[in-house]
Symmetry: D2
Subunit: 338 residues, 4 copies
Amino acid sequence: MKAAVLGATGYTGMLLLRILSSHKDIKSIAAVSTSAVGKEIEIGDPGLFNNLDGKYISIDQLHNYNPDVIFSALPHLASLPFYQDFIGKAVIIDLSADLRYEKKSDFESAYGTAHSAPEYIGKAVFGLSEWYRDDVQGSDLIANPGCYPTCSLLPLLPLFKEGYAKGNISINALSGISGAGKKATINNLFVERSENCNAYNPGKKHRHQSEIQKELDKTGVESSILFTPHLIPIRRGMFVTTTVDLSKKAEDSDINNIYLDYYGKSPFIKINNDRIPETSHLWGSNRCDISWEICGSRIILFSAIDNLLKGASGQAVQNMNIRFGFDEVEGLRTWGDL
Amino acid sequence: MKAAVLGATGYTGMLLLRILSSHKDIKSIAAVSTSAVGKEIEIGDPGLFNNLDGKYISIDQLHNYNPDVIFSALPHLASLPFYQDFIGKAVIIDLSADLRYEKKSDFESAYGTAHSAPEYIGKAVFGLSEWYRDDVQGSDLIANPGCYPTCSLLPLLPLFKEGYAKGNISINALSGISGAGKKATINNLFVERSENCNAYNPGKKHRHQSEIQKELDKTGVESSILFTPHLIPIRRGMFVTTTVDLSKKAEDSDINNIYLDYYGKSPFIKINNDRIPETSHLWGSNRCDISWEICGSRIILFSAIDNLLKGASGQAVQNMNIRFGFDEVEGLRTWGDL
Amino acid sequence: MKAAVLGATGYTGMLLLRILSSHKDIKSIAAVSTSAVGKEIEIGDPGLFNNLDGKYISIDQLHNYNPDVIFSALPHLASLPFYQDFIGKAVIIDLSADLRYEKKSDFESAYGTAHSAPEYIGKAVFGLSEWYRDDVQGSDLIANPGCYPTCSLLPLLPLFKEGYAKGNISINALSGISGAGKKATINNLFVERSENCNAYNPGKKHRHQSEIQKELDKTGVESSILFTPHLIPIRRGMFVTTTVDLSKKAEDSDINNIYLDYYGKSPFIKINNDRIPETSHLWGSNRCDISWEICGSRIILFSAIDNLLKGASGQAVQNMNIRFGFDEVEGLRTWGDL
Amino acid sequence: MKAAVLGATGYTGMLLLRILSSHKDIKSIAAVSTSAVGKEIEIGDPGLFNNLDGKYISIDQLHNYNPDVIFSALPHLASLPFYQDFIGKAVIIDLSADLRYEKKSDFESAYGTAHSAPEYIGKAVFGLSEWYRDDVQGSDLIANPGCYPTCSLLPLLPLFKEGYAKGNISINALSGISGAGKKATINNLFVERSENCNAYNPGKKHRHQSEIQKELDKTGVESSILFTPHLIPIRRGMFVTTTVDLSKKAEDSDINNIYLDYYGKSPFIKINNDRIPETSHLWGSNRCDISWEICGSRIILFSAIDNLLKGASGQAVQNMNIRFGFDEVEGLRTWGDL
C-alpha cells in the first residue's frame, strides 16, 4: 500500500514518516512538503537513517504517485484545496481541525475565520478511534481529533453514557511544548519554556473547548465544561485532570466496571486505578492511561497521552489500521519508552 | 541582630542562609545542622562563597549563641523538642506544619500521626503575611504556611471575604520538584522527573487540603475544596488554577477592585489581569502574581509563586521583617530572575 | 527462542524487556529480579502494557526456564556467581564490566576491587559489534562494552588502524543522567541535575579510560588518552568530542573514505560530515553518528549515541542478533525519535 | 548616577535592568529599545515589579537624559552609530564584539564582515576585569569580553604567565542556550534543545577562538588553541574543560599557589581544587569557579561561570564598579542560587 504525508517536515509529519516506515503493510511513502521539495528526506530530517529513500515531493507530483492513503499534517485550512483532487481516490486522514465539526458555524466561531471549503463539513467521521471504530471502518474521510479532546473525552464519555456525569465540569490540561508545532517563536524558545509553566487561553479562548463540548453534547446529557490548558516544560506528553460532580453515587468498582466495559478490548487504553498515570509511562506509545479518585460526591479523572501519538500521528495511523482492516496496533507501540 | 537556621543543609535552609547573608539588619547567622556539625559552611554548601564564615553548629551550641530569631526548616515534628528551650528567648519562625493548625485533631488527621508537643498548638500565628500582618507583628511564634496553601489562599480569600465564592471549588496545583526536599528517592531522580508529569495525592490524600480549607472556613463561608497537586519538571515554581462557581455576578473590574483593595499596598502581590502569570516571571522573587478569567457564572483564578520563596523561605523572612519592623522587602526581591 | 534478563528493574534491564518483547525471533522472556520476585511485570514496570505477561522470577526459578540467551544487567561483580550455572547452557551477554578486560590486574586497577571470578577473565569477546562481529558470531560469552568506550572507540579505531592518529589524545564526553542507573542518590535528583553541568572523575579517576585505552593499544599504535566525562541534564544521550594530533596530512575525503570503508555496510553507523551529530537525532535508536573537523594538523572527531541503546541494551541485542544469525537490526531502530 | 541600557529587551539587557535597579549607586535608569519605545517597562518585561518606573525610550530621547554610563547590549555592529554621540560624554561599556580586537583585520576575519567604525578600534580596554583592572579604572570605553573567552581565559592566563602552558591546547566548552540571545529560531525551540546536545562551529568557525587566542598571544607565549563549543539544555551556565600539555612539571600546590597569587583578592574567583565546579553552584552569581586535575605531563583545567553574568551583564557591572570606584561586588552576588 502507498501512503502520502502532507506537511512532512513538521513534528506530526516527521512522526508519521517514522511510524509508516516501520509499518509492515505500507510499501511506499511519499513525503510531501512545500518548503523542501527536491531535498533528500534523510537530509531534511536528520533523525532518519536507512529507513526512507528518496526526496520530498510537491503536491503536484503527488498526483502521479496515486496514494492509497493521505495523511494531512498541514495547518488548519491549508489542505482544503487538495481535497477536491484526492477525495474519492484515496482515503484521507486529516490531522487539522478543518473537518472535525458538523456545523460550519461551530468551526468558524471556534477558529475565528471563515471556512474555505464548507462543502466538506459534515462529510468526515470524527476519528476518536475507540468511539467511532465502526464509522472509521467505513469512511474515506477521517478528521483526526485534537490532542486535548482525545485526552479529555476518553475518560469522560463512558461516565456521560452511563449517567454519572452532567452539569459543570472543570478540565485542567497540561501539555508538552511540541503541541505548538515546529514554528519559530520567542514564546517557545528553550530559555522561555524551561523552568516555566503557565495557563493560557482558558475557557472559550481555546478552540478545543468547543471540540470537547460538542462530543459530550452528542450523548444527550446537558453539561458545561470549563477547559484550561497549561504549558509545561516537556517536549511530549499530556496530562488531563477533570473534576466532575457525580450525578449518582459511585464506588471505585462501578467506575472500574464501566471503563472495562467500554475499553477492556481496546489495545491502547490502560485502565488502572491503583496508580495515577504519569506521562513518562506512555511516552512514545499510542496509549491513553486512565485512573480516578472518588471524593465524596465528586470524582477526579486522570488521563494521560503522548500528545504527538495518541494525540496526533499515532491515532491517525490507528485510524488507518482500522479503516484498512490491519492489526490495530501495527506500527504503533503499547509500551512507553524510558 | 543574630539569626539561626535549623536544618541548614536542606533546600529551604540553604535559601535562608543566602537571603539572611544579604539582609542588612542581620549581623550574624548560625547554621544549625545535625548531619554537618563542624564542617565549614562554604564547603558543605558549595554555592556559597565569601558570604558566610564559620562552621555548622549543633543545637547544643545554639544555646550559647543567643539568637534573636530562629528559623526552623526541620521536617515535621522534628523541631518540637527545641521549642521548650527557645520559646520566650527568641522569635521562632517554624517552616514545618507543626503549629499551623489550631486543633490537635486537625493536625493529626492530616498528618496521620500523634502530635508530640500538643501544648504549643494554637499558640502560633499562621504566617500568611498579607492576611495576618498585625498578628505577626505581635507574635514570637510564627507558623509559616505551606507552599500550596500560600499560593491557593491568596487569590481565594478576598473573593470569600467579599461574597463571591462558596460551595464546590476545584484547586489544581502544579509544583516544582524542590517541594519534595533534598531527599534521596528514586521517584525524584532527574531521569524519573524530566519529560514527565502527573497528579499525586488528590483530595484528602494531600495534607495541604485541610490547611487550605481551615483558612477558608475562618471566613465563615461554607465551601468544599477539592485539591489536586501535580509534579512538573521544574526545580522551583508553583502554579495554581482554581475554578469557582461565582456566588454573584461579577465583572473584571469588580474582581480587580477587590484585589487592589486587599493587596494594593502589599509589595509582593502583583495583580495583573492583562496577562496570566508565568512562574518564570517571578522565579527568585517573593512575589505572588494573580490574574483571573470570568467565564459566565464561573471564574478561574490563576496564581503563581516561587515555591521555595513565597512558599517557604522568602515568606519566612518577610514575616521576620514584619515582626521586627524592618522594611518588608529587605533581603527579598520583587523582580524575577531570567 | 527464550531470553532472560537479569536485573530487569534497572534502566538497561527495563529497556531490554521492551526491545525483546518486540523482537520477532524471541518467543518468551524471563524477567529476573531479586527485589521484585513474584510481582506482575506490568505492575513493577508501569510503562509496559499488553506486551509482557507474567511475573518477575528469581535466579533460582531461572534454572527451570532453560533460556537460550541471558542478558545480565546486574551491577559489576554481581553476576559472577551465576556464570557457573549457565555458561555452556545459554549464550550470556553481560552488560557489566566484569569480563571486558583481558587481564585481571587491568580490571582490578580500574575498579579498585578484587575480581571475584578470575577464572572467566579472557574468556569473553569484547562486544563492540562493528569491530568484533566475527568473534561475536562464534562466542557464548559476550562482554558488552561500556557506553563511553563505545562512543569514543567507534570514531577513533579506524584512524588508528589507518595510521592517522597516535600520541596524546583528548576525549571529552557528555553523558545523560541515566548512565548513573536507577539508584536513589541526592546527586542525581532532578533539582540537583536540572540547569546544571560539570565534569567528574577525569583521567584515571574514571574506569572507562582504561577500557578505551586497552582497545586502542590492541591496534599496536602508541597513544595516551586523557578522558574527561561530564554530566549534562538529559535523560538519555551521549556526545563525545575527541581532539587528535594528526600523524599525517588528511583531507576530508581521506577521512570520509576510511569511515565508509570500515562502516559503510554497518546498519547503525551514520557517517555524515555535512552536519555535526546531535543526540536528539538518534534518541531511541541504536545508531552511532560520526562527523569530524580537520583544523590544520589536528582533527576533532564528533560521535553521538543513545547511551542506553548503542551504549548498553541496544548493542546487547545487536550482539544477540549477530550471534544467532538474526537480521542485525531486528528489534532495533535506525531512526531517532523526536 | 544615571545609567542607560541599549538593547533593554534582550536577555543581557533585561539582566542589566535587574542588576542596576538593585545597585545602590545608581539613582536612575534609562531603558533604550527600538522595538518597545513608549511601552511601560514593567509591561514589556513582566518579570519586573515595583523596581523600574517609566517607559522604554528611543536612542533620540537618550540625548536629553545625559547618562553617566551607557551599557550597550545591542547586536554586533549595531551600536557604532551611537558612539560618536556619546563618546566623551558618558562611560561606554559595550557588550558586543565591536571593540574587543586591537586590529581591524582580526575583527573582520573573525566576523566575516567589514567593520563600520574602524576609527574606534584599539581605543577600548578589553574588560576582562581581573586582568585589566587598572586599565578599566582609567577608561571611558570598555569592551566587555565574550562569555567563552571569559571562562576560558581566567584559568589559562596565569599558567601562561608562569610558564606552565604553551603549544597545542584543547578547549571544550558547554554553554546554556541563553547565549544565543532572545531570537525566534527553530533551532533553539524548547522541543529542539531539550534532551539534546551537540558541538557547533568548531575551531575557526567560532568567532571566540580568535578572541581567546589574541589574549593568550599577549603573554608572549606561543600557543595554538583548538576551541569547540557545545550547546547543552540549560538556560544559563557555562562549563569549560581545557586540556594542556604542561611545559614543566607541576604539583597541585604549585598550581594552587599560582591561582591564589593571581586571584586570591578577586572577590568573584573561587579557587577550590577539592571539588570540580558545577554550574549550578554559581548560577545567578558573578563568579568564575576554577579547579584542575594534573594527569602526568598534562593538566585539565575546569572553569564555570553564569554565561549571562560573569559572561556578560555581571562583568559589565563589575567593570562599571571598578571604573567608578564603587565596591567591586555592589549589585552583584558571590553566592549561587539553588
